[in-house]
């Protein structure tokens, strides 16, 4: 009977194609929206992730997210170094600064100052020059992806900026000594690296300019204890990278309205996708109701009918789901070539598949209930 169920389904090529397209569209819709949301969420943590091999971030207790640097006193790094279990502690400067490109174009950037002696927290993949080139005054590193976009020389015919070009950061002379490969970030401004002391020189003269202290513990097992010791012996708080990412993500999603606005779009995509799926299977089963009713009268058990419908839903859903995911993934590949957010997490994929199956099966079974109750009016319908 299951073979017949499949033949019932695929016998009408046009209808079958319609079912496939319906489910593929639904899968694509849900996965695509979900992935953009996941991508956007993940991009709020780009900066923290790129700093890399750090056990703890020490910061002012009032810091709400990664760009919300509240200056620590000059002595902070020194104090942290004295805490038991700390292998090293390096200061990090981070600030939004205005700058002017060689052709006069004005823009802004995120300047990151790395500990002079260790350059801890520097970019890991260099595409031109090395991290050590930062030692040359007044050197800075820029993201390769920004050379022909965010930092392109708009007043010089959009010429890409390049190594050797000089720019002025808050009226201080800086020279590009290398490029690195960064990842797209939710915080849009170009991220420019230099040394800690040079960053202090570029930045407006405030009293305290240390944004974070990056900490490496002597042993990974010590991290919770060290975190506790820092928080009890200094006025600062210490967060692991993932903790800091989570705090940042939550703050951004909530405070910017992204959670609500984008959440609505995701929810809508989800609902539309599921309605399409449900409608598709509801109608298919409804179209076949008189045949199912005849089968029931002729002695096909309710259990077998339900199994037939399950086989039909499954055999459409897995192909439609695959197609939809394929299209969503292709769109994702295209989207991630730009700086737009797209992250196809396995959770999104799995959730989409399960939700579609549940809705497809439910819709088909709902339209089958009349047959399961076996009303003779349907069996003998003219």
């Amino acid at each position: 009977m299951m073979r017949l169920a499949v033949k019932m389904l695929m016998g009408d090529r046009l209808k079958y194609l319609g079912l496939l397209l319906g489910t593929a569209f639904a899968a694509m819709m849900i996965a695509q929206q979900g992935s953009i949301f996941a991508g956007l969420s993940a991009q709020t943590g780009t900066f923290i992730r790129e700093i890399g091999d750090v056990d703890l971030w020490v910061m002012d207790p009032q810091v709400r997210f990664s760009e919300d640097a509240i200056a620590l006193p000059e002595t902070a790094a020194q104090r942290i170094r004295g805490v038991e279990g700390v292998e090293w502690a390096a200061p990090l400067y981070k600030g939004f600064l205005r700058c002017q490109l060689p052709d006069g174009t004005r823009t802004s950037l995120i300047l990151v100052g790395l500990d002079d002696s260790t350059l801890v927290g520097g970019p890991t993949v260099m595409t031109n020059g090395t991290l050590l080139d930062l030692r040359r005054d007044p050197g800075i590193l820029i993201d390769e992806r920004d050379t022909n976009s965010k930092l392109a020389l708009k007043h010089a015919g959009n010429r890409p900026i390049q190594v050797g070009d000089r720019l002025s950061i808050h009226d201080n002379d800086a020279q590009i000594v290398g490029t690195y490969r960064g990842s797209p970030s939710f915080f849009w401004d170009p991220v420019v690296y230099t040394t800690y002391s040079r960053a202090l020189r570029f930045a407006p003269k405030d009293r305290n300019l240390m944004s974070f202290v990056l900490v490496k513990c002597k042993s990974p097992a010590d991290i919770p204890a060290v975190k506790h010791r820092i928080e009890s012996s200094t006025p600062y708080i210490a967060r692991t990278g993932p903790e800091f990412e989570a705090v940042t993500r939550e703050y951004i999603l909530k405070s910017t309205g992204i959670l609500i606005n984008f959440g609505l779009a995701v929810g809508l995509g989800f609902i539309i996708g599921l309605i399409v799926t449900g409608q598709t299977f509801f109608n298919f089963t409804l179209d076949n109701l008189r045949y199912f009713a005849a089968l029931k009268a002729m002695g096909v058990s309710a259990a077998t009918l339900v199994r037939m419908v399950l086989v039909q839903v499954l055999s459409v859903t897995w192909i439609g789901f695959g197609l939809g995911m394929g299209v969503a993934a292709l769109m994702g590949i295209y989207i991630t070539r730009t700086d737009l957010a797209f992250l196809m997490r396995w959770e999104v994929v799995a959730f989409t598949g399960i939700a579609m199956l549940v809705v497809g099966v439910t819709a088909a079974l709902v339209s089958l209930t009349k047959v399961l109750r076996l009303e003779p009016g349907i069996v003998f319908k003219g």
Partner: protein, 254 residues
């Protein structure tokens, strides 16, 4: 030429026995008393026609007889079994083994070949697919469609489709065949052919046929005709069928 109803059925075993059968749809104000005390027997080997005005309860009665619908009151046994005392799966399995259905709208599954359609009752009864399709093909030859076995239903005329439906209803050798308006979607000549086919199979098997119809032109195929009105059987008369006369030995068995 006309015989009494008693003449026709004398000596034949009873396949379906209904006494004071009632059925009401809905309740309260909107209740419809579709069957108001039906007494009827259907004998093995006979073709019983149920006739009567629209809404008089014909479809309801064959639904009860075929085990598709539960009666409310009275007694009804089919091949010695009482559907109201059977569990739902048992009833389904009983229908699968013993009852054949012919519908007004044929209800052939359009995406299956006619051989596959006819094989369905065999699959339901647990036959292997290949054997079932082979048996279905030989059944189709018997109804004159041996050359069309791999066609799809929509390639066939209405009369041919109803012949396929009859082949499907008979392929598993049921004891009871119920047909609701089997000829009303067909023109006169085709309807006559379909009825000839039904009469022939009925007389060559130990099969009881109940045929619901509006179509006076096919009354001649009935062994007995039960006239219904408003949920009652008004009258049962001997039809014009000659089968009983052709098989005098069966009457002699009693």
């Amino acid at each position: 030429m006309t015989r009494s109803a008693a003449d026709v059925t004398r000596g034949r075993p009873v396949a379906v026995r209904c006494r004071s059968v009632t059925k009401t749809y809905g309740s309260g104000q909107s209740a419809v008393r579709a069957l108001r005390g039906i007494d009827i027997d259907v004998h093995t080997g006979e073709l019983l026609m149920l006739v009567g005005p629209s809404g008089c309860g014909k479809t309801t009665l064959i639904s009860v007889i075929a085990g598709v619908l539960d009666r409310d009151g009275g007694e009804c046994t089919v091949l010695g079994e009482d559907f109201n005392k059977m569990r739902s799966d048992a009833k389904t399995a009983f229908r699968g083994r013993n009852v054949g259905f012919v519908f007004q709208a044929f209800n052939l599954i359009p995406t299956l070949t006619i051989a596959e359609n006819v094989s369905v009752p065999l699959l339901i009864n647990g036959h292997k697919r290949n054997a079932a399709v082979e048996q279905a093909k030989s059944m189709l030859s018997q109804v004159g469609l041996g050359t069309r076995v791999n066609d799809y239903p929509n390639r066939l005329s209405g009369g041919q489709q109803q012949r396929v439906a009859i082949a499907r209803a008979l392929v598993h050798k049921p004891k009871l065949l119920v047909c609701d308006e089997p000829t009303s979607a067909l023109d006169h000549v085709t309807g006559q052919k379909v009825m000839e086919l039904l009469r022939d199979v009925a007389s060559s098997n130990d099969l009881s046929l109940v045929v619901v119809t509006h179509d006076q032109r096919i009354f001649e195929f009935a062994d007995r005709i039960a006239e219904m009105d408003d949920g009652h059987i008004e009258q049962i008369s001997g039809g014009l069928g000659h089968k009983v006369a052709e098989h005098p030995s069966e009457s002699a068995l009693t």
